[in-house]
Amino acid sequence: MDIAILIPLLAATVQSGTPILYATLGEIITERSGVLNLGVEGIMIVGALTGFVVSLTTGNPWLAFFAAGAAGCLMAAVHGVVVLLFLGNQVVSGLAITIFGLGLANYFGTPFVGQAAPGFDPFALPILGNIPALGEIFFRHDVLVYISYLLPLAIWLFLYVTRIGLNLRATGEAPVAARAAGIGVVAYRWLGIIMGGFCMGCGGAYLSLAYTHLWTNNLTGGRGWIAVALVIFSFWRPQRAVFGAYLFGGIMAVQLRLQASGTTIPSSLLLMLPYTLTIAVLVFSSWRRGSTGEPAALGTTIEPRQ
């Protein structure tokens, strides 16, 4: 592959990785507090629809973006109610959130099909956008991509530098000890769920406001599940999520470009590629490393104080 193809390929990688990156970061925050949320797909699609509808009616993409995040919070809060208030099983509740969210979005979304909403358009960043190669790959996207460059750093700072982040991680690692130390563990889990939901909703909105400016049923197309997988792939570290998301986006972009350049490999086999590679990387990395960084109390329920 020569350079003329490589640069647009990498630029496409960044873009198709971005919605997954938002969602992965959201799931990382949530899981760091000890809560597994398998509802990413459902939360993303509700975010996507909310963003689209708000943008269509108000014409304000920023408002739409934050509305999508808020919708993500709401959906995540349902998960919170079930697993934190009613101590339900996290795996099953997440799955239910996915089913519920897909149903909800498709139920209300039909009238908005076939319309175009205002959204975010790509623009080159001054100076940075003019750097040869790198500029085209990284700095000629829409503003939500630029935000996604800063987000991992912000989340890393939050988790590792701030007091709140420290307590949140403690809740995910050792809730009993954390509680004994006077940390309001349930409140921190709520925080993890809500912050995570916001990012997931934004990831959905990226699909309907920036990647495309369209709405159809099942818009998210399984990207939420990929995000869940990438959390483990990135060992629960925000900085590694970037690589995971771009790797996955990259394989998807390569798969399509292989076809465009006239390969004779059947497309069904090419479509297996991203998933096979995810498994391969996952197996290899968990096998090689002793500890994966999984929060010790992930998926556990916190018993109420007697």
Binding site: L9, A12, V113, G114, T212, H213, L214, L219
Partner: protein, 352 residues
């Protein structure tokens, strides 16, 4: 518990009452393979249904997202049992299930879209979309400068392959040097993936993007890169005002209305109908202003000829590898078209 019981009784009563109220109406049912919210195939059929709904003395309903196979048999059976007079099933995989049900309900009219089987009370129909695709290919062929065109396609089934072939024949009629590159997305409506597929084609040098997808994702990709695009299903120019050359479009309404009218007047017969441009079931969206007038004239002339009976798939036609498939002077039969699984010369891609 008592409330639940009264609820059920009330529901039954409502059903009975409604059944009586519309007893004199002709009831028409539609079965769709995807949600109406797919923005494309099922949406287009549902627009046709709305035209039927607007008729006097006719009421319609539909069931969406029905999987091919046993699910569809149950849905069609359910409609027949509920006394629907005409049932339209709009996906290939509904053919055998519908045939089964048709045998049990001789008084109901069954219409199957995109298949080939017939019964005394079951007809089949499809639209010759490939005619409009050919015309859109002519426009695209005239506008390309790189001689590479991109085609974002959903699934390698005959309908899609036929469309790609007709498009390519149209392109090569205007520009014998041009090639059409195909990317399969394996989705009908996933705007992000489809847009990405269009971009991958643009990256290998395509400067016109056509699509057999329900979403306008590929249109957006063309618009952003400042190249041209050909839509599908309906006029997609609102999504890409500067890129959108034209679009082959569906217009099921007149056909559905005419069929229901025939059933009502007792003139309906079970037959295979494959209407096209001449009957208005497929059409070409208005051609954009960027297209030179002489190209428009050529396309319109060809459209007139096709409406007058000229065929699209006329020999000599070579396949992708240059092997002669249709000899000089021969035309492909409808049956051959219905089962087309090979690409014509000029297409780059695989049919798997």
């Amino acid at each position: 518990m008592r409330r639940v019981c009264t609820g059920i009784v009330a529901a039954l009563a409502v059903c009975l009452f409604m059944g009586q109220a519309v007893a004199e109406d002709l009831q028409v049912g539609f079965v769709y393979v995807s949600p109406v919210g797919d923005a494309g195939w099922s949406y287009a059929h549902d627009q046709g249904r709305l035209a039927v709904e607007a008729m006097d003395g006719v009421s319609t309903s539909f069931v969406e997202a029905v999987a091919e196979g046993p699910d569809s048999e149950r849905v069609i059976l359910n409609m027949a049992r509920k006394g629907y007079d005409v049932i339209f099933a709009t996906s290939f995989g509904y053919m055998d299930p519908m045939l089964k049900v048709a045998g049990q309900f001789p008084d109901t009219v069954f219409m199957h879209c995109s298949g080939f089987k017939l019964a005394d009370n079951m007809g089949n129909y499809f639209g010759r979309m490939y005619q409009a695709r050919y015309l859109s290919g002519m426009v695209a062929g005239a506008m390309t400068e790189s001689n590479t065109l991109g085609y974002v396609a959903a699934f390698p089934i005959p309908e899609v392959i036929r469309g790609i072939n007709a498009f390519t024949l149209g392109v090569r009629a205007m520009n014998p040097e041009a090639t059409v590159r195909v990317v399969w997305t394996k989705t009908w409506y996933d705007p992000a993936t489809e847009k990405e597929a269009a971009k991958s084609l643009l990256d290998v040098g395509a400067d016109v993007i056509a699509q057999h997808q329900d979403s306008a994702g590929p249109q957006e990709a063309a618009q952003e890169r400042g190249v041209y695009s050909v839509g599908y299903n309906s006029d997609m120019s609102q999504f890409a005002p500067e890129a959108h050359l034209t679009a082959p479009i569906w217009n099921w309404g007149p056909f559905y209305v005419a069929t229901v009218e025939k059933v009502r007047s007792g003139e309906w017969q079970a037959e295979a109908t494959w209407p096209g441009l001449a009957e208005g079931i497929v059409d070409l969206a208005p051609i954009g202003d960027m297209v030179p007038q002489e190209v428009k004239d050529q396309v319109m002339a060809k459209m007139g000829a096709i409406k007058g009976g000229e065929r699209v798939f006329v020999g000599p036609i070579n396949d992708q590898d240059g092997v002669l498939k249709v000899a000089e002077g021969e035309t492909m039969s409808d049956e051959e078209l219905l089962g087309m699984t090979w690409f014509v010369e000029g297409v780059i891609g695989t049919t798997q």
